[in-house]
Amino acid sequence: MPDDDARTTFRRRSVLGATAVMATGLSACSVETGSESGTEGRTSSDFTFEFDADATDSTQLTWMDSGDLKALFIEPVIAEFGEQHPDITTKYDGAGWEQVNQVVPLGIRNGSAPDVFALPENVPPETAIGEDWVRPIDDVIPDFEQWRAGFPETALINGIHVFDGRVYSWPLNSTRRLDITQYISHEAASAAGVEVPVESVSTWEDLRSLAQEITATGTPGILSTADHLHYVVANLANTAGWLGNSDGMNMRTGSFEYSAPEYLEALEFIRSMIEDGSFVPGYLTLKDADARAQFPTGLAGISLNGPWDIVPWDEDHPDFEYTILPLPSPDGSSYTIPYRETGSNMAWLYADSPNTDAAVAVLKFMGTLEGQRAMVELSGGFLVSTIEEANTSADPELLHPQAKKVTDMAIEYMRACPQFEIRNPDAGAVTLQLEPANPGISATIEGILTGQLPDAGAALEDLDARLTEAMEKAFDEARAGGAEVDIGELQFPNWDPARDYSADDYAALGE
């Protein structure tokens, strides 16, 4: 590379600065970053930033998001950018959602928001754009179209990343990740006389029996928290053939189906395990972070959760041994879980940032094949790229031993389902008008399991009705505002849940 090239590179197989990141779960929990732990992030990628320090007004680069797994990637990249450009002060703050929810709006009000940030949980992108919090990236990223072409065709979605034809954000990583799998503690299983590693828990009855056996030894069989319980029920319902997505909508019929028989069956199965006494006492008030921290120390035998727990377990309990298995189905038959490939961990560029050049240099690198491969490697393989080559070309030596298992499971069991946002560019107008159902699914499940809502079927039918009413109202209001949308566009009659819904399938709808 010529010396006068504005791009700078970090040598291959580099050992980056210390990155102490307690990767944490879905929930809004704090993450420690930046402390000297001696953890070395390794990657086979070149860290190449297109940035000319002499031709910019940028003096710093501040980035704020919720931390979690992505901090394993973002923090070292930003630190490396700072090392390559000592005149630029860099700061990564991955202090959790609560911090993001409070600091970002405050920063916007007083003109001191981070240069790049995650949107607060309760601020829709449309609002952030309408209020001029964020700016498009398509006119500041050099050679944007070439950069965009590196992503799959359906990666950048109207109403999620693209608004009014302008690109504002992009998917840092894929959403193809199983939120709920079985993590079976070897110590608890052995105490119950079960051979480890546990080979198979393939039916609901197998899971219930194993939980009962472990509970009989004095250790509660099942660990799940109230925050995650609706994911557990939904995924179990999917194993029984329920076609609902993460919003409870069957994309074939375009209707909310929480009251479907399969969903009720899954809920009844969970209730049966609670009545067995297999659930951890106090599961409704147990915090995710506490559950994660206590599981390796014998809080329960089987944790129903996602792969974000693995890294913290490694760091805090390196001797903890466990088996990872997919969720069982009612009779052991195969199943698929529909998911929406919207991408995860979107970052947004502050509209009034005086440091756009620095921010864009980092953003651009992160969206290249090299950057995405670095993400896969630095996260040990737990963050999966939407660019398939980044996943396949990652150095296997740098991946966590369990990551491939988790990723393979996601590939085996998850199927991309249709998305209204991909079908119609005006979808964002509906999202903006959509009011949440209150109580939502999480609270409703809580009410059912505590007996406060004695008729589960009626409670879920009521929820479906309220969700439908809110959706119809949102469509009406979006249309009144000039959006060309029709509620019938939520129906995808050609959806086959057994395979990924593709661009050809969208085309085949005859639109």
Binding site: N101, N122, T285, N438, P439, A443, T450, Q452
Partner: protein, 317 residues
């Protein structure tokens, strides 16, 4: 003998004094206006709008938020729980604190009394959110010390879900709130007891009055005016249980321990699992409505106590 200054000079001096008085009041007034009067006024205005709190789009909706609020069962549920905190929590705390204050004032003397006062006041000093977090571990039915104690002593054979049983959650939070703030009410009563002149007790003893008679005939009548203040202050504290409840249960399970403050927070700020946007206008309406309701209750309470005092005065005559 002092000679009064001529009227004109007196008036000038008075004006000068008033000027200084207002000058000294000004900083406090400015701060109070900024942090109390303005937010109060703004809340009333926001309550008439549909506003998410972070955009400039405030749609004036008149009384629509109040109409919706009146039809919201979850609001009335939380209102009822707040009333339980007042109607049950206040007599419980005020009564127990009075008994203990009398014991510490008249029975236990010296260093032991100081020790107990300190012990009961310690929880008041700690932040409610910190106490809440610690108590979730203490009360954890799986491996908390309370659960272990109950099990090992044979009092229970299954874990008691203090915070996640819908029948227990509200009462658990009420008792914990009472325990946390008990020291404050105790200090109020101890201060009130200091105002009872010892000569009254000495005279009563000379007349042959026993301890119970001294309590009924001397202590309680003298404490009655203080009781009005202490009850109002305690009621006010019991309506501000947000931090502790949020840390203990978050208002759950399924709203079983959600008081109005938690309801307001949930409506105003808490992101919904379904991705809903906050409703600061609606939450403001809930706050204003609840504020008015509690003001009316406080006025009724003061009026009732005034009636009692007047009745007593008539009987004394």
């Amino acid at each position: 003998m002092a000679v009064a200054p001529p009227p004109a000079r007196a008036s000038r001096a008075r004006r000068k004094d008033l000027l200084w008085i207002y000058l000294f009041i000004l900083p406090g007034l400015a701060l109070t206006s900024m942090f109390i009067f303005y937010p109060m006024g703004a809340s009333w205005y926001f309550s008439l709008t549909e506003w998410n709190g972070f955009s400039d789009a405030k749609a004036f909706v008149g009384l629509a938020n109040y109409r919706e609020l009146i039809g919201d069962g979850f609001f009335w549920g939380s209102f009822g729980r707040s009333m339980i905190f007042v109607l049950i929590g206040v007599p419980l705390r005020v009564g127990l604190a009075l008994i203990l204050a009398i014991v510490l004032n008249n029975v236990i003397r010296g260093r032991l009394s100081t020790f107990f006062r300190t012990v009961f006041f310690l929880p008041v000093m700690a932040a409610a959110s910190v106490i809440g977090v610690v108590l979730t571990f203490v009360l954890s039915p799986g491996n908390g010390p309370i659960a272990l104690l109950l099990e090992t002593t044979g009092l229970t054979d299954t874990p008691v879900e203090f915070l996640s049983d819908p029948d227990l959650a509200l009462w658990s939070t009420l008792l914990l709130h009472t325990w946390k703030n008990f020291g404050m009410t105790l200090i109020y009563w101890l201060a009130a007891l200091q105002t009872v002149p010892p000569e009254y007790y000495e005279a009563a003893e000379v007349d042959g009055a026993g301890a119970v008679q001294r309590l009924i005939r001397i202590t309680l009548p003298i404490l009655l005016p203080f009781a009005v203040i202490i009850i109002v202050l305690t009621a006010n504290e019991n309506l501000h249980a947000f931090a502790l409840i949020q840390a203990l249960t978050g208002g759950g399970p399924y709203y079983a321990s959600e008081v109005v403050e938690v309801y307001i927070f949930r409506t105003a700020f808490a992101p919904d699992a379904a991705g809903g946007v906050p409703r600061l206008g609606y939450a403001s309406a809930a706050g204003c409505f609840f504020g008015m309701a509690t003001l009316i209750i406080a006025l009724l309470q003061a009026w009732a106590l005034k009636l009692v005092a007047a009745q007593r005065a008539r009987l004394d005559r």
